[in-house]
Amino acid sequence: MKNIRNFCIIAHIDHGKSTLADRLLESTQTISDRDKKDQLLDDMDLERERGITIKSHAIQMVYKNGEGEFTLNLIDTPGHVDFSYEVSRAIAACEGALLVVDAAQGIQAQTISNLYLALEHDLEIIPVLNKIDLPSANPEEVKDQIIDLIGCDESDIIPASAKTGMGISEILEAVVQRIPAPVGDPDAPLQALIFDSVYNPYRGIEAFFKVVNGRIRSGEAVKFMATGHQYGADEIGVLRLKQEPRKEISAGNVGYIISGIKQAKEVKVGDTITAMEKPAKEAIAGFENVKPMVFAGIYPVDTEDFEELRASLEKLQLNDASLTFEPESSAALGFGFRCGFLGMLHMEIVQERLEREFDMTVITTVPNVSYRAYLKKNPEKEIIINNPSEFPDPSTLDHIEEPYIKAQIITKSDYVGGIMNLCIEKRGILKNQVYLTSERVELSFDLPLTEIVFDFYDRLKTISRGYASLDYHPLGYRETEMVKVDIMLNGDPVDALSALIHRDNAYDLGKKMCEKLRELIPRQQFMIAIQAAIGAKIIARETLSALRKDVTAKCYGGDISRKRKLLEKQKAGKKRMRQVGNVEIPQQAFLAVLKLND
């Protein structure tokens, strides 16, 4: 055990975590040149394209120095706030962390929030100043920021470039010298912390774990303590570039288990594996059932594809345990699913994976957060509302609560004014304002989660010219005043376009929704009235005039190609529309409320 080091890399997005991981793997010859590709750990297509890590992964390296041979387990963590629970479990499996900071950009919101998580778990922090090869690097100032933040010595900071390879050997040496070996009793009953799982179409579900105490043996019967499920440990092993089966993995080390688990749902990140023979008395602390934060309906564009959509969601859920869904129906859209997501990025990813990996064309409805309603007749009883259609008749309502978050925003001081205005417009309450340096400010706001869902992130980026970074954590529920704004097309309510909106913003948003829909719905052969209403009261109206001319005047030799391409596009667009009543609504109109300020 004394030759094992478990560590993770924490960094703000794009500060170079994945690239640094690549260099470490090369330097320890874990990967040969032949297998080399950039950001090796990001193996989902989508991750490569977006340049973000969605799922976390682990990989084992062997490092030799004068003192002997060391086993280094690198646990890669996702970098986006939507996945912060997964980050926290990955961190819990480590004894140390590389804190990677971009020497040009300096400390950002996720650097800090992930750092706090690491400090909470008593991780040894090794600060790495990355990208010092960049001409725009500002190593002196960023070093000062790091020293202020974690109170280390300047000499503790390793200057590096994941691009050129500079500093890599120092980093490896520091991992061995500074990060403590794991502690744990190999002879105690088995306790292994699950920090991730993936679905492998050939081998089923693989769970990744760190053995905290005891040892896990191939073939023995094990139990997952939170779910109570029992399995045979059909195969266990360590995570080299490829998985390498082992007979036994003992305290301190990281590995995988394959045990006939059918669905990702059965594997909860944070759960504890123990042995049936001599089971542990208690589970490792810190387990939480991650709850979805954002809900939206997902419907097939073609109603006949409902069963196929179900099958696709089931398959997606195999390797995305945080996705939840249950069937629902909408008068406008027919049968679909109400899905729960960790956040907006997660929602986008699910939608994109459905389209890309499963070739489904889907409509995603206006997302909402989860509200709690209390009725007059029984004000003690909480009713959970994950769908505008479940919103009770306002006259029966005692009160309603919405989820709040604590948002940390780090920005250049120039943009503080604009960001304050945005947060106040979004019903935020300023809690704290700290100057990290003379130019960098950390703002803390209590904000309703729903306001982050609607058009917050893009505006924050615009206001700060891309510089501000955001991180947030749930704060619990607070009383609020929400109303349900319905949209009607030619007098017929389209339930899938309904949204729950704070009373103070309802008129304004209702108007903007109508305007946006007028833009997004193509003209049709008849006039369309677009109205927003609260209950029976119309609060906004727009009219989309009828399409009276749908033919080009001329079609001679030189016009045919161009025209055909135009009409093909039109037809392709139509295929992505959904007919509600007699009105055809394009897919993106259902998400229009997210982008009201474009």
Partner: protein
């Protein structure tokens, strides 16, 4: 049967709505004519045995050409390709070019069909459109053309013009009928990108066009012409029996055509070609003995969609037997499936194995065709 198109890229002045390819400087007219002659030579093997039945001078304004130039082009065309008997030879002309002398020359050069850009019989409209002629010239040139021996004449008329109410439009159609022409092409004024009209509307100097007005005037048009004995044989084209434009019809029937001159398009079997839309580049290439063109290969799906799109513009519509003959069986199945709801809405009729768009829906032809496209 095939057709030959010659693009003459010059105009005396630019009409506000026009996005065709032309230059208003006539300086390089002579070298351009030489280049067009040369391109015909370069393209002499374009047709694979097909005989040509139509020659069309389009533009631009071909009537800006000198007599000798027209003669040279016609003769070159005849020498270079194989022709059927009595081919249709059309020349687009603007009224201000059509002096009595010019008309006699055109006749002598072999032109047997004139397409005259009248556009409107009101000077105020002509001024608004920045046309190079007046109403008086439009009327007199038509009479002169008759005298010169032309009886196959078509004229262009534009509707949906600002400040033209329905009564004024009816009067336009009446005047065209009074002139006794056997063919009329009539187009809805359209705002094309990169035109003066587009620019004016964008800048707010002109109010956007009124689609309702266009739709009403389209109906007035076909109703009046129908009464007068014209067939509405294509969205914008009307002819007395026996006077349909043979050349233009080939575009809607998927027949091969060769386009010569800058920006001209050609089509044969699986390919469409288009020449560069730039007079200087075009000439430079041709002078080096090269074609300045790009091409695309049309897939079966492309050809199917083009067939739908063009055939549904015509009165006869599309021929289901033709589709069975030309395309893989899945296209016929697909079409029958897609057609059903459209038939239900009355936007298509099915008769004698032909599908066509009824009069009242012809102003929606593109949308209807697109709804049947194979994607």
């Amino acid at each position: 049967m095939a057709g030959l198109y010659l693009h003459i890229p010059f105009c005396r002045q630019a009409c506000v709505y026009c996005d065709f390819h032309f230059s208003t400087s006539l300086k390089y007219r002579e070298p351009m004519v030489n280049a067009i002659l040369r391109e015909m030579e370069l393209q002499k093997d374009f047709f694979k045995g097909e005989t040509l039945q139509s020659l069309y001078f389009g533009g631009g304004t071909p009537s800006v050409l000198e007599h000798e130039e027209i003669v040279a082009l016609v003769q070159k065309a005849f020498k270079t390709f194989r022709w059927a008997e009595n081919p249709e030879i059309t020349l687009e002309a603007n009224p201000d070019d059509l002096s009595q002398e010019k008309l006699t020359q055109l006749k002598a050069a072999g032109i047997n069909r004139l397409s005259i850009g009248v556009q409107s019989f009101r000077d105020s409209d002509l001024q608004f459109m920045n046309r190079s002629h007046n109403a008086e010239q439009s009327i007199s040139c038509l009479q002169n053309a008759r005298q010169a021996g032309f009886n196959n004449i078509t004229l262009d008329l534009i509707y949906g013009l600002p400040n033209m109410d329905d009564e004024a439009w009816k009067d336009q159609v009446r005047q065209a009928l009074n002139l006794g022409v056997p063919h009329i092409s009539s187009y809805a004024l359209t705002v094309e990108p990169r035109t003066a009209l587009h620019h004016k509307i964008e800048k707010g100097e002109h109010r956007p066009l009124d689609e309702e007005q266009a739709a009403r005037q389209f109906k007035i048009l076909w109703e009046m012409l129908d009464k007068a004995g014209f067939e509405h044989y294509e969205v914008s084209n009307f002819a007395r029996p026996g006077f349909r434009a043979r050349h233009n019809s080939s575009y809607w029937q998927g027949r091969p055509y060769l386009g010569v001159g800058p920006s001209a398009h050609s089509f044969r079997a699986m390919h469409r070609y288009w020449n560069v839309s730039n007079n200087a580049l075009y000439r430079k290439a041709i002078e080096k003995g090269e074609l300045a063109q790009e091409y695309e290969e049309l897939s079966e799906k492309d050809r199917f969609n083009e067939y739908l799109m063009t055939a549904l513009r015509t009165r006869e519509g599309l021929d289901l037997l033709e589709i069975e003959k030309t395309f893989a069986p899945e296209y016929s199945y697909y079409l029958m499936k897609e057609v059903e709801p459209v038939l239900g809405k009355g936007q298509l009729h099915l008769q004698n194995r032909r599908l066509f768009i009824p009069q009242e829906w012809r102003f929606h032809s593109d949308g209807i065709a697109a709804s049947l496209f194979y994607i």
